[in-house]
Symmetry: C2
Subunit: 215 residues, 2 copies
DNA sequence: TAGATTGTTAATCGATTAACAATC
DNA sequence: TAGATTGTTAATCGATTAACAATC
């Protein structure tokens, strides 16, 4: 008899975001030799409310000690486990143009466990070789190559026009999470996590606030 | 007598974001020759509620016609004006490494009025020349160069360690809006708009959801 | 024990949505 | 006029915050 699926409490999107921010901060504190920190101190670093910090954490367990605060090393470890940063994630990058290449060469992700292990590009002039040991392949056997490597994360760095087709191929190949840099809305199955970074929208937001400044 | 400053109704952050999304959609509709669209139709394209679309718009005025909907061209024009996309914004890019260079070569922003007109980098090997007519300068006279060009938008594409110093120089040079790509929290005066794109956090969010999938 | 800080409940705030009178 | 759709109000929902008993 299948046990009824356990319902996770639904964690606000913003809580995950902050968890990630806390983790980075805790790493720095640890380097500086700080051993404990209170929710109050942590909150002040990010202009947050201390209750919010505590609430964010209690979605996942009780990590603090009353009268003391949180042990930095312990909490960092717990948060990394919650965020899935205690393992390595192989990543597929699609599109090796300006942005794709920049993301590839950008160290810092691999440091944190996200490693681009294969690159796809439709341009034959770019495929068939390796960059720093990572193969650049054509788009013919995306599914097979993804599966062979057990890849669950795909990064879309192609122009808007091709992005939906690329996303479809990634999903068909078993990818469960997509980071999209194309300035277009993608549609994916509901069990695939889609995260979009839309630089046009970022610029337009700045423009909006600038326009209002003068008034 | 100085008139008391008019209080703009505070517009939710998410509304601005959606305005930007609507604008892009309206441009496409216009290209396709669509002349009118209802809040319902617009909402369906983004899995939103039609009341939300209407509410987003009414923060800024009445743009619709009862019984008809919105005239696509008219609405696109109004939204572009609201977002400040009816003018050109000169932009300064700081950091000409992988990411900085990718952003520079990424057309698509200039198409929308955001034009990188000067690049700063602290590496003397990179400075003193031009790329596609855009000068790459050292960090010695950031303020003077920014002012000379009337630049209000700065893009920070340097490593985390140097980011705060760069932001300070930009602000000192009169920049009123910063787009930050360094994975660190920056502090700026309250009258400066700071927008951060943190790719580490994007990856960690994906990782979080992937970790939960199995459970 | 006295002081500090957590985990949690209840109050507050703000954003989303349903509903509908106004009106094209 | 009948039908459609807006602009807007009021209800709902969810996230943030204040407050405090529990406890180190």
């Amino acid at each position: 008899m299948a046990r009824p699926a356990y319902r996770w409490p639904k964690v606000p999107e913003m809580t995950i975001h902050r968890l990630s921010v806390y983790t980075r901060c805790l790493r720095e504190l640890e380097e500086d030799g700080v051993t404990t920190i209170s929710s109050q101190e942590l909150a002040e670093r990010f202009n947050l409310n201390s209750a919010q910090v505590r609430k964010d954490l209690t979605y996942f367990g009780e990590f603090g000690v009353r009268g003391i605060g949180y042990y930095v090393t312990r909490l960092r470890g717990e948060l990394q486990k919650i965020l899935g940063l205690d393992r390595e994630w192989p990543v597929a990058l699609v599109g090796f143009g300006n942005l794709g290449a920049a993301l590839f060469h950008h160290k810092g992700f691999s440091r944190q466990g996200f490693k681009i292990v294969v690159i796809f590009d439709e341009d034959p002039a770019k495929t068939g070789r390796e960059v720093e040991g990572t193969p650049i392949l054509g788009m013919q056997n995306v599914g097979r190559e993804l599966r062979a490597r057990g890849i669950q994360i795909g990064v879309v760095a192609v122009p808007a026009e091709g992005a939906q087709a690329v996303a479809d191929q990634l999903v068909a190949g078993g990818v469960k999470a997509i980071l999209n840099f194309a300035p277009t809305r993608l549609r994916v199955r509901r069990d695939v996590r889609l995260q979009s970074v839309d630089l046009s929208i970022e610029f337009e937001t700045l423009s909006f606030y600038l326009t209002r400044l003068g008034r």
